[in-house]
Amino acid sequence: MRREKIIALALLVTALSAISGLALITAFIFKEGLPIMLTVGLEKFILSGDWYPTEGAFGIFPMIVGSLAVTAGAMVIGVLFGLGCAVLLTQFAPPRLVSIIKPSIELLAGIPSVVYGFLGVVILVPLIRENLGGPGLSVLAASIVLGIMVLPTVTSISVDALQAVPRSYREGSIALGATVWQTTHRVVLRAARSGIVAAVILGMGRAVGETMAVIMVAGNTLDVPGSILDPVRTLTSNIALEMGYAAGDHRKALFATGVVLFVIIMILNTIALAVSRRRARQAVVR
């Protein structure tokens, strides 16, 4: 029995590694980034548009707007396609097609982000430049690339949510004479609502956090974009672009950019977790 107790203890200690990893990451990012934020002034750091790191001017407002803009655009595409695929897979498609479509969408998630970014530059950017004007490297290009990248996340979490809806709901509705589509959007989608909200929020987190693909297609200028055809720089690209050569306060300001990104992601994560926990509780009540 003593041996069993030691094993249990060892497993517990190992199991704490995930949470300690999270704690370490939080501690180090804040330790590196927070002081410079406070020196510059939190308001100035977040709301000022002057980013001249060599002269000590650190304002990341355009990057915050940039991240929000490309994320919003990505969600339009990611949610439309992701939810469409999820509904098709769970409500309509015959099992044989599901067994082809589902792994393909998972494969889409496995393709490296640099490949997406590269194809964005080679194909999408010239297409936008020639047909819609502007430099091509733009909010629009980044949104489309990111939309495709978050689609698998939205699909797979929505599929789980839709499959968790009790069969009796669906059967009840169909027995009342509703078509499958009526059942889907009036009963199944409504019952799976909180799971789908979680899927959208987690997809949003993906889009906010994506780095390499965005660097390649967004253009990375330091201005607040005036239209979707203007180039932008996101929080993530700001870090990745300048980390290679930054030193001193400049490097610390990049960590501070990381702090802002981290806070945004943690807020999104917490909302998603809270929403899916509510779903779990509802399922128990049912």
Partner: protein
């Protein structure tokens, strides 16, 4: 005029099929485009030689070796920790505040962007622990990044093992540890394998985090403390700095083929697991 429910359904269905076909079309296009432009340049010497003049000439051997090192080491570190965590959560404790905290940690870790992992790996492993830009720093950073995936998939695999297996094992007088290692983990093995293989895939395709932790040295790494450029990062540098489009496409082809093979292996393992527990 009222549109009949059947018409609405037909329209909605058509719309969804268009979305799904477009999605699959994008996937097929990405793979085909890269392979068509890159595969003709993937020769034996490209795979077995070192790059020359920043990658304009020569091959990608050091990047293949570097990628294998970084991804392999990351999974070797993350797999035991992840599997042990999942065993603890499923077999050694009841759901309570502690499991909620551990799950919260794993879920949050899963949502953190790779660039944040990169920043953390840079200050913690590279600078504070003095490991420098190296394979070890990169692997440790990636290990933390793939840990949630391994925990989640192992947990699911363990939960799918029928409880009658456990009862039978206990009935034969085994201890909890014997039951876990010899019955549960053995049955769950292909499912756990799926998670591990997917983690290898994620490590191979990661760029931002390895850029800040493993560095971008072009030479063949000799020890785990050398800096090494991975395939994904090499591809990024080649294309972004316009060094060589031909070699960028060829590198991307190697990357895509590796990812395809990894996903196929994961899919195969998953099917085997599903066949085993049902």
């Amino acid at each position: 005029m009222r549109i009949s429910p059947r018409t609405t359904q037909a329209a909605a269905l058509a719309g969804m099929w268009v979305l799904a076909i477009l999605t699959l079309g994008v996937l097929a296009f990405i793979i085909a485009y890269i392979l068509v432009h890159g595969l003709p340049h993937v020769t034996w010497s490209f795979l077995t030689e070192s790059p020359e003049s920043m990658g304009r000439e020569g091959g990608i051997l050091p990047m293949i070796v570097g990628t294998a090192w970084v991804a392999g080491l990351a999974v070797v570190i993350a797999a035991p920790v992840g599997v042990a965590t999942a065993v603890y959560l499923t077999e050694y404790t009841r759901e309570g505040r502690l499991t909620a905290v551990i799950r919260f940690g794993a879920d949050c870790l899963a949502g953190i962007p790779s660039i944040i992992f990169g920043l953390f790996g840079f200050v913690f492993f590279v600078i504070t622990l003095g490991m420098g830009l190296s394979i070890v720093s990169g692997a440790l950073t990636l290990a933390l990044m793939v840990l949630p995936t391994i925990i989640r998939t192992t947990e699911e695999a363990i939960r799918a093992v029928p409880s009658s297996y456990r009862d039978a094992s206990y009935g034969l007088g085994s201890t909890r540890w014997q039951m876990v290692t010899q019955v549960v983990l053995r049955s769950a093995l292909p499912g756990i394998g799926t998670g591990i293989v997917l983690s290898i895939g994620r490590s191979v395709s990661e760029t931002a985090a390895v850029m800040l932790t493993a560095g971008s040295a072009l030479g063949l790494p000799h020890t785990a403390f050398d800096s090494s450029r991975t395939l994904a990062l090499h591809f990024y540098i080649l294309s972004r700095e316009g060094i060589s489009m031909t070699n960028a496409f060829a590198t991307a082809s190697v990357l895509i083929i590796a990812i395809l093979a990894i996903n196929l292996a994961a899919y195969g393992l998953m099917r085997r697991f599903v066949a085993r527990v049902t």
